[in-house]
Symmetry: C2
Subunit: 128 residues, 2 copies
């Protein structure tokens, strides 16, 4: 449950580190509207792939609730999955784009990632 | 303590909603290296303003540890402050750039923001 959720967070961090251009493109990709006219486009393919990742993450959260590693009071798996994506996404961006700020405060990119994953893990394990 | 920390998170969200262009510029601003040659530049001014916000947030976390609203085991105020920035930043970006994805999963931008702030609050209050 929770371990699988955290492993997905680390996988996203690793993907961004090994494929920075692809990560940057995904970040700038404006999924502001679902177009119904171009079901064959790359746009549609990106949305579909994102939906699959979302389903995997939601499933891992549901397994976690069943096995007791994720508190039921942490929120709905659907909303938590989106919040985890947003947090991890922001952490990767700050870790790569704001390295001077991190080094100003003597925090390494890896330590920032660990702190975010740790806060996510605590909130999922403990709930309200 | 914790209330002040969360109020700063909400203030950042409100700023991004009312000044989307400024937020987008700050997001794309690459603070990857501190240049020592242009102390009068906008670049330097941005880093200095960011350092002031970081000091306010770190201070609020330290007050929270003293008044008991923030668990000492949550992490060091310095690292937590950077993680909170990254999480909130990512949440604002997902809420504005990926509206189609959110609506695909029937989650409003406001609900996403609430979930992230809730997870941040739980992790700070409870600690390990």
């Amino acid at each position: 449950g929770l371990e699988r959720v955290l492993a997905m967070g680390r996988a996203y961090v690793d993907f961004a580190a090994s494929s920075p251009l692809q990560f940057e493109l995904l970040a700038r990709f404006e999924a502001t509207e679902v177009s119904t006219t171009d079901a064959d486009s790359n746009h549609f393919a990106c949305l579909a792939a994102g939906a699959q990742v979302h389903a995997l993450l939601t499933d891992a959260l549901e397994v976690g609730i069943r096995d007791g590693s994720v508190a039921r009071s942490a929120g709905s798996p659907n909303t938590i999955a989106l919040a985890l994506w947003a947090m991890t996404h922001g952490t990767i961006q700050v870790a790569s784009m704001k390295r001077a700020v991190l080094s100003q405060h003597a925090v390494t990119p890896a330590a920032l990632v660990e702190q975010t994953l740790r806060m996510a893990a605590i909130s999922l394990r403990r709930g309200e």
